[in-house]
């Protein structure tokens, strides 16, 4: 099967073109470095099946980070290259085009973001460009689908240009200069509103307050949307529709082992949170407690990504992140990681050196709770019998403030001791885009689907496993075994060891397990300690697999040692500060 590879500079819309061609949805955003791995899809061209590969963006064919290395590897396999070019920035994009043509592979150009050129007063003569380069050039607007059909019909016309011989960098730039003179005219435009917003959000004096405001608003919205979805949709659904249904099944099953595994530990008593049945708790926790927050979070994240705000935030936080052994781009894995640590871990590939990637990965796994865990942390503290109205807020803040402090302190220390380079930031800032709501919804939906596909089987399996272990007495054994450590070192009940171990399967299940203990097992402050340690102690198994793949075995072992030490130090400190003993 023929392989067609999409190549181009970062953030020119390759992934959007890919989705248009193959119907396979991949995440696309408005910042360089969204795609850090390749995706494959298939399509038919004149009856023949071809494979389309979406490569990470690269400015040239000499890689400067891991994502660009992936792009080069993919290029080697290409039979045809679709070079996606940003029409609003032809000069810079043509460098890669010339390099591609020197490779002697058939190339076709998709002149993307064509609509933007009109807004910016840039006139590109695509016919002339086609003539000069000797390959087909198709103007496209991938977001709306304009020009994609023409692109598909012209793929077979893709060709190499034997007149373009390998040359020096110097030579390429001279060539580009002469091409630009012939094909591009730029009108002078005054400062637009978009430029003004861009300036305001990137200047420190206005940018920092705006950043704080945006982050605060984003999280406030997540909480608001998440809670509303729970209170007005999921909770009623489970109470009114699902409860009678499960009760009926329970009556049919009668008391026994099957009932205990599927529905509840105590016969006739169904509590969705505490019953620990596969079709009660196993469904309720992911669907009614976590999913609403996942929906809310990914909707907000998609909005932030698509407007192009993240690179500006990266600029604003760069000097702080530099002290942590990374640069401003290190904020991107944190944001993605707040949804799920797995994509967060993959996003560290956009950092240039091993040192930066190691620190970013370790900090992510110890100090950034995923949304599934966060949702459950919200849930346990909201359920506490509270003495005053803002108590849950105070406890939740304690957990997060501890994690934020840990992120900075651990980063500061790691920066000192991890060997390697920490080069300065060098990042392209895309222009602001008004998010295309349909695309934002679609992207949110894709991420929700991943969550469901991943979470539901693990939850079932987790609940089943816990039941089995309870049955054969392993849980009690572990609780007793670790009791001296838990009580003596951290001042928390012995049962906590079971919770921490469950965290290895899934963090939300682990926090959920806390809820199944009788009220009074934990004091509120003890819950703060457990929730915090659960974040730091060990990532879930899915994240763990990605860390191993990204860092290699040796660095993974180091990372694990750091996790365990961090959890111990923070646990003991919290004990003295919060419990006072």
């Amino acid at each position: 099967m023929k392989k067609i590879v999409l190549m181009g500079n970062p953030n020119v819309g390759k992934s959007v073109v890919f989705s248009r061609l193959t119907g396979v949805n991949v995440i696309a955003s408005n910042y360089p470095g969204t795609t850090v791995d390749f995706s494959k899809g298939k399509m038919r061209i004149e009856g023949k099946r071809v494979e389309i590969i979406d490569a990470p963006g690269t400015y040239s064919l000499e890689p400067t980070n891991k994502a660009e290395e992936v792009a080069l590897k993919v290029l080697d396999e290409a039979d045809v290259v679709i070079n996606v070019v940003n029409a609003t920035n032809l000069e810079r994009n043509l460098y890669l085009t010339l390099e591609l043509l020197e490779k002697d592979k058939p190339v076709i150009i998709a002149l993307n973001l064509w609509d933007e050129t009109h807004h910016l007063g840039i006139h590109v003569d695509e016919k002339e460009l086609e003539k000069i380069l000797g390959i087909p050039v198709v103007p496209t607007v991938a977001l709306t689908g304009e020009g994609i059909k023409t692109l598909v019909t012209l793929i077979k016309e893709a060709k190499s240009n034997p007149n373009i011989k390998p040359t020096s960098e110097e030579g390429r730039w001279i060539e580009i200069g002469s091409i630009i003179k012939k094909v591009e005219q730029v009108e002078h435009r005054h400062h637009s509103i978009r430029d003004r917003i861009s300036d305001l959000t990137i200047r420190p004096l206005t940018g920092l307050p705006i950043a704080l405001g945006i982050i605060f608003l984003a999280f406030w919205f997540v909480r608001l949307i998440g809670e509303s979805l729970i209170n007005y949709i999921m909770q009623p659904l489970f109470d009114i529709l699902y409860l009678p249904f499960v009760t009926r099944i329970g009556e049919f099953l009668g008391p026994g082992l099957l009932y205990e595994f599927l529905i509840s530990q105590t016969y006739g008593e169904i509590n969705f949170v505490e019953s620990l049945g596969m079709i009660t708790t196993g469904l309720y926790v992911p669907l009614a407690m976590v999913l609403p927050y996942i929906v809310a979070f990914y909707f907000m994240l998609s909005l932030l990504e698509d407007t192009g705000y993240l690179p500006r935030l990266a600029t604003l936080v760069d000097s702080i992140f530099h002290k942590l052994g990374m640069h401003g781009h290190g904020i991107v894995p944190v944001f993605l990681g707040l949804g799920c640590n797995v994509p967060g871990m993959l996003a560290t590939r956009a950092l240039e050196t091993k040192k930066q990637r190691f620190i970013a990965a370790v900090l992510l796994s110890i100090a950034v709770p995923c949304m599934a865990q966060t949702a459950m942390i919200f849930a346990i503290f909201s359920k506490l019998g509270t003495d005053f109205k803002y108590a849950p807020f105070v406890y939740i803040s304690l957990v997060f403030i501890t994690l934020i402090i840990l992120y900075f302190v651990a980063g500061f220390i790691l920066n000192r001791f991890v060997k390697g380079d920490n080069p300065e930031i060098f990042l392209e800032i895309p222009s602001y885009q008004v998010p295309h709501l349909k695309t934002t919804f679609k992207k949110t939906w894709m991420r929700i689907r991943w969550f469901l596909k991943d979470a539901l089987p693990w939850m079932f399996f987790g609940v089943l496993l816990i039941n089995l272990l309870y049955l054969i007495g392993v849980i009690d054994f572990i609780a007793i075994l670790f009791k001296p450590i838990m009580e003596g070192v951290f001042g928390i009940p012995g049962e906590t060891s079971v919770v921490l171990l469950t965290g290895f399967l899934r963090k939300d299940l682990a926090v959920g397990a806390l809820l199944s203990f009788p009220i009074g097992t934990f004091s509120a402050m003890q819950l703060v300690i457990v929730a915090t340690m659960l974040t730091i102690f060990f990532p879930c198994v899915a994240t763990f697999a990605v860390i191993t793949k990204e860092l290699g075995l040796k660095d993974m072992v180091k990372a694990v040692l750091i996790m365990i030490s961090a959890a111990t130090i923070v646990g003991v400190s919290l004990r003295f500060i919060l419990l006072g003993v």
Binding site: Y59, S60, E62, T64, T88, N89, E91, R92, Y95, L96, E169, W173, S198, D199, I202, R203, P204, G207, P311, A314, T315, L316, D318, S319, H327, G328, P423, E424, I425, F426, L427, E428, I429, S431
Partner: protein, 79 residues
């Protein structure tokens, strides 16, 4: 006219300048070039972050954030 070459880092806000040369290792030079930072291009500083933070510049039709160390290697002539 008395035109002096200065480093990009010393260019006052809202002034435009032309790039005279870029010094540094081959890797860095190439990286800068592919994003449009090379001889003859016109640059303007859009913002400077405090605490030795990065600069954001406008060059070759796009905006780029770069560290101060890099800005010290770019020689420009104020226009």
């Amino acid at each position: 006219m008395n035109r002096q070459n200065i480093y990009l880092i010393d260019l006052p806000a809202n002034k435009t300048a032309k790039i005279i040369s870029v010094s540094g290792g081959y890797g860095l030079q190439r990286k800068l070039q592919t994003l449009g930072i090379r001889e003859g291009q016109v640059v303007k500083i859009l913002s400077r972050q405090p605490f030795r933070g990065p600069l954001t510049i406008k060059v070759c039709g796009s905006q780029i954030t770069l560290g101060r160390g890099i800005a010290r290697r770019i020689l420009v002539e104020e226009l």
